[in-house]
Structure formats: C-alpha cells, structure tokens
C-alpha cells in the first residue's frame, strides 16, 4: 500500500503537468525522473555538507575562543632568588606580543589553588611554594613556544604552563573539517549543475522529434524553449525541495550532540542556520533554469 502511494507520488511529480502550453512537451520519461532524482539526491547531500561546514565552523570558533584565554607562568626558585626571578619573568611577559598585563597571584589565591591537595590548614608561608603569574592572551600573534624559549634563557626558574595548548590541534582539525565541508559543498554544487545540465540535454535530445515537428508547423523558438524550460525548472526545484527537506529532516533526527558535552556542538543547524539550506532549492532551480534554457536554445539552433 505505502510503496504504491510513494510510487504514485513520484510519478505525479516526475510527470506533473503545467498549463496548456506545456502539453507540447511529452509528460514524462526516464530523463524527467533522472532530473528530479539528481536534483533531489544532490540537494540532500548538499544539506549534509552545509551542516558539516556550519558545525565545524562553530566548533573552530568556539575552540579558538577557549584557546585565547590565559596562560600561567610558574616561578619556582630558592627563596632567596625567587623575588628576582619573578621580576625578570614579569618584565619578559610585559614585552610579550599578543599578551595583556601579567598579574602575580597573591598568597591567598595560591592557598586556594593548593587547597584540594593539602587541605585548608596548609602553611603556605612556610613552604617553598612557587609564585604564579597569570598572563591573559589577547592577540593572535601570541607565540607560546617563543615565550617558553625566552623564559628558559632569561628566567630559568620560570616555567610556562599553557593549559589549553593541547586544544590547538583540535582547532586546526575543526578548521580542516570546515574546509572539507565547504569543498564538498562546492563539489556537490558543481556536480549537481553538471548533472542537471546533462539530464536536461538528454531530455531535450530525447525530444528532438517534438522540437522538429513544432518548428515545422511554425512554432517560435521562444514558445518551444519556454515550455521545456518551465518543465525542467519545476523538476529541478521540486526535486531539490524534496531532497532538502529530507536532508533537513535527517539532520533534525540526528541525536543531539549536547549530551556529548561541549566539545562538539552537534551537527544540527542552530537558530537562523535552519534558513540556509532553504537556499539550496533556489540554487537548484536557478541551475535548472539556466541549464535548460541554454540546452534548449542550443538544440533549437540545430533545427531550422
């Protein structure tokens, strides 16, 4: 029952009839189904590629933001030299490009940091506790590796602790994925355009007799081309609307990524993003229109 209805729906769409003028174009055929299907399948894939590009874009942004937090410099030296080491470290940090004003953590903040290790009763003053300097990262030109080397050379007791450094490869991975998504999108768009063009050409070639007959009885180029173009644009549009909706449905059905924590912000569309895939049918219809128009006029040229 269901299969039958789906088949009927498909036939109805593949062979949908428009106004009176369109009757001159044969209603259906495999090339028509092919146009509809290509448009649909490519739109479906395009939705996924778009979602990938958007999600990885978000991911890269977010991870970059977290990266851009702050780094900590730990100065541990014999008590006598500590003060001098801290001063030289601070002067190095002040001249570091891409970093803000360094801040030496006071004793009570230090005690708070160590509390989970030693409990609240710890005698911080009595211990050779290192000094900690917090350095906010403000610019893209902050070079952690360069700073580390400089510290090693000029303030040997100072160690750079870049606790978000491990995320840097993740950001580059996310950016890589975003590029992949965009490249796929471009490839899919190009393949769709080529496929719709070829399908339109194939359909027109299959209808060469129709075009000949129409020309011979005095039909104008515009009349003929319009009938075909309308038919094919509709097919490309309908196919890609179906494909896009199916793709968006698929994306919506994907399990929500928020359960997996904040690292991957889900593949879904968020907020206004949901409007972006809706441009796909517009593009497909535009491609269908241009491709058919071009193919029809070219085919008509060959028929006097």
């Amino acid at each position: 029952m269901r299969g039958l209805n789906l088949m009927a729906l498909w036939r109805g769409l593949a062979g949908a009839e428009g106004g009176k003028g369109d009757r001159i174009v044969p209603p259906t055929g495999f090339t028509a189904q092919l146009t509809l299907f290509s448009a649909g399948a490519m739109a479906f894939l395009a939705v996924f590629a778009l979602a990938l590009a958007l999600a990885t874009g978000r991911l890269a942004d977010r991870w970059s933001q977290e990266l851009a937090g702050s780094v900590t410099v730990r100065v541990s030296a014999p008590v006598a030299e500590q003060e001098a080491e801290v001063q030289s470290a601070l002067s190095i940090l002040q001249t570091t490009p891409g970093a803000g004003q360094p801040r030496l953590l006071p004793q009570d903040e230090l005690a708070q940091l160590l509390e989970p290790w030693f409990g609240p009763d710890m005698p911080v003053d009595a211990l050779p506790v290192p000094a900690l300097i917090d350095l906010p990262v403000t610019g893209d030109d902050f070079d952690a590796e360069g700073l580390r080397l400089r510290l090693e050379a000029e303030a040997p007791g100072a160690v750079l602790d870049d606790h978000t450094e491990w995320r840097r490869p993740l950001v580059s991975a996310a950016q890589r994925l975003r590029v992949l998504g965009i490249v796929s999108l471009v490839l899919i768009a190009a393949a769709s355009a080529a496929m719709i063009t070829l399908a339109a050409k194939a359909a027109l070639a299959a209808n060469l007799q129709v075009i000949r007959v129409l020309r011979l009885i005095g039909a104008r180029d515009l009349t003929i081309a319009t009938a075909f173009v309308r038919r094919f644009t509709r097919r490309a549009a309908v196919g890609s609307v179906i494909g896009t909706l199916a793709g968006m449905g698929g994306i919506a059905l994907l399990p929500d990524a928020s359960a997996a924590g904040g690292f991957l912000t889900g593949l879904g569309f968020q907020g206004w993003d949901w409007l972006m895939p809706l441009t796909i049918p517009l593009v497909a219809a535009g491609v269908g229109f241009l491709a058919t128009r071009w193919a029809a006029l070219k085919m008509l040229e060959a028929v006097r």
Binding site: K20, I24, L214, R215
Partner: protein
Amino acid sequence: MIEMREVGFGYHKPDGHRPDGQDAEGRAELLSGMTLTLQPGMFHFLTGPSGSGKTTLLRLCYADLLPTAGQMTAFGQDLRALSRDQISDLRRRVGVVHQEPQFLDHLPLAENVALPLTVAGEEVDMEALRDLLGWVGLSQHARALPPSLSGGERQRAALARAVILSPDLVLADEPTGNLDWDMSMRLMQLLIELNKSGKTVLVATHDLNLIRATKAQVTARVLRISGGNLQLAGADL
C-alpha cells in the same frame, strides 16, 4: 508566391562519402540552375524519379534548407535573409505534408491536427476541426494517439494538419503514397477545393494516374525534375 532564380542546392556529404560531381566545398550539386515561379492560385505537380530531389525542392520552399546558389524568395522575402521567427511566420502561411509525417506522439490525433493553431496562439474552432477530420476520414480516430494509426491514416492526418491554418500555399510530398485510389481522389478533391478558393498547391507525386485524374478537374502545371534540372512536362505527361 515562391520565386526561384538559378537556384542550386547540394547536401554536405560527410566523411569520405563522395559521389561524383562534387564541388570544391564537398557538396554534390543535387539541384542546379532551377528557375521556377509558383504562381498564386495555381495547381502544380512535381514528378521525377526516386532520389531526384523532389523532397529537397519542397524543403527549400519552406526554408528547411537554404539554396547554395541563386536567388530564392517566398512571399517577396529573400529566404536567406529570414530570421528564425520570420521562418516561423513563413511556415504558418505554408502548409506542408511531409513524405513520412511526424507527430507529437503523446497527443491525440485531434490535438495534433489542431497543433498549428495552438502554437500560433489561435482559438481552435471545434466545429471546423471535426469537419476536417471527417473529410479525411479520421473522425473515428480523433482520440487515437499517432503511433496507433495506419500508414494511410498518418498521411491523411498530416494533410489535415497542413491545411488547418488555411495557408496561402500547400506543399504535399507524396500525400497519397499509402492510399488506395478512392481515398487518394478524396484527398485530391480537398486540395482542388482549396485551390479553387485561391490557394496555391504543389503536390510531389510519382503517380501519373493521379495527375491525369486531377487535370481533368483543374488546370495544373506539371514540373519534372531529372538530372538536377526542372522541366515543364507537356500535355502528354
């Protein structure tokens, strides 16, 4: 109506298939030095052996082919200067019955016959359409699709389609090739009526009996192509 002066024509012969008498551009001159005037209101026959160029001559007349030499005008317009839309307009004034008529196979016969009206954006007069189908003996088949018609039925449908716009000139290429004598005469009758109402008619045929029978009813010029040239056949045929 149609004027040809010293018209020549040859098909391009592709890839090495070169019969004799081919010119420098790779064309075999099929027709040459043809001078002919189709006078308004006259009935013409065109005969000649198979492959002599009858169909080719007709195709020149409805601008399906362009002459490769000489001057040719239709309704006073130089055929070589016509734009594509002007060609369409010309074809609405010239009704053509092709030797192997083609139709839109997805439309019923009646719609196919009315197609010239449809594409010209004119109203279809159902009454007239029914009369016309009756005259060519296809009333029974009005809703049949073209592929289910017999050879003769297709030729009759093609004739009906050619005359539905009541064109100034009717070109018919072997319109009775697949028809028995009675039906042939019936169709010729239709052409004769049209001719009497002032239309010009040109019928290509190899059937001398048909020509004789028609000449009994109407004055007809008989043209004969052979060897690429056009002759006016005498009263003896």
